[in-house]
Subunit: 188 residues, 2 copies
DNA sequence: AACGATACGGAACAACGTTCCGTTTATCAA
DNA sequence: TTGATAAACGGAACGTTGTTCCGTATCGTT
């Protein structure tokens, strides 16, 4: 059912090569590395890359899928294992930030106006916003955070704060995100 | 002294045309509009644009210089006219956010890794970080905010949070920046 | 072995930033 | 007014990227 039409052997081989090459090039050059560089590293033509991954977003999504899944699955775990929901939320966001800052250029690629990374943006949001929403709902229930906080807005904000992190010692995304999350707390 | 070598009349005329054309195109298309579009709107060749503004950053800087100056000058005024320094800081940052969100793509252009906007980035930082630093120093003195807050980091954070604002009704940069600034408060 | 479907490679095109140089124009002195 | 000279101009041309397209090669099957 999942493989009504199994791909040809060479196609499967190339897809694997491309994923490995892309992962390596992303580490060296960042997520917005030239398509030709990835194709060259994988030993395929540029046409092949588009056949397997119609948009850049598809390629990036495929490369980081595992880590996004891990982040998504950590949400419920943290909620269950933390003393209070606000702590769980803070810890989960730390995970997300750690993920983004170690992937050069990934945060910048998440902008909605970046049409070539459209599917990447969609995937991140579809997968992570619900997880974040559960954490936020729990934190609201205990009165830990402002009631008008939305998961989408928080994710966008955190993503934005991670842009350019890791390239400038004077800018520490983790600390700044800490301020933001602290600011979500109910004051009274 | 300021004009040892006065420019030729046509050069001055073209510079003015370019500034006006750039301002108009930036409103329509955003700050990263194609150079050719600006040149066409101004009725000059592409070479001319580079002669007057060697980098894109120079052009953008010239277009927005007045507003950046106004923002910079508002710092001391707000500090003098507010009840407490933290309020002054919050108000000043509101001004900065309002400026950024109304200029399509400007916040995104401020990234340090965006080499073509290098001078823009430098100008913003040179002009605004000292102003912000004074506000922060005052707020620290009254114990209003965390002592490890730095002006540079705060400016970068606010700038990042403004990216993509104004294009998505679900993301309100002002509210998010409000969380951030709230998070700077000393909890004690 | 041979055939059809699948997939490939890389040339070709488009969009953009940037440079370069032959031509035009402004300025000023004679 | 005119001619010389420096200043400035225009836009063709080049390099870099993203993306498409199609003739060719390869795989799987009969």
């Amino acid at each position: 059912m999942t493989d009504l039409k199994p791909k040809r052997a060479d196609a499967r081989r190339n897809e694997k090569s491309l994923l490995e090459a892309a992962a390596a090039v992303f580490v060296e050059q960042g997520v917005q590395a030239p398509v030709r560089d990835i194709a060259a590293k994988a030993g395929v033509g540029t046409g092949t890359i588009y056949r397997h991954f119609p948009t850049r977003g598809d390629l990036v999504t495929a490369v980081y899928r595992h880590q996004v899944e891990a982040c998504a699955e950590a949400g419920p775990t943290l909620l269950a294992g933390s003393t209070d929901p606000h702590t769980a939320l803070a810890r989960w966001i730390d995970l997300f930030v750690d993920f983004l800052v170690t992937k050069h250029g990934l945060a910048a690629a998440l902008h909605p106006d970046n049409t070539e990374f459209d599917t990447l943006h969609t995937y991140f949001l579809d997968r992570l916003v619900p997880v974040c929403a559960d954490l936020i709902t729990a934190a609201k229930a205990t009165g830990d955070i402002h009631p008008d906080t939305t998961a989408y807005e928080l994710m966008r904000a955190v993503g934005n704060l991670c842009i350019g992190a890791g390239e400038d010692p004077r800018y520490d995304a983790r600390r700044v995100v800490g301020w933001l999350v602290g600011g979500l707390r109910m004051v009274e």
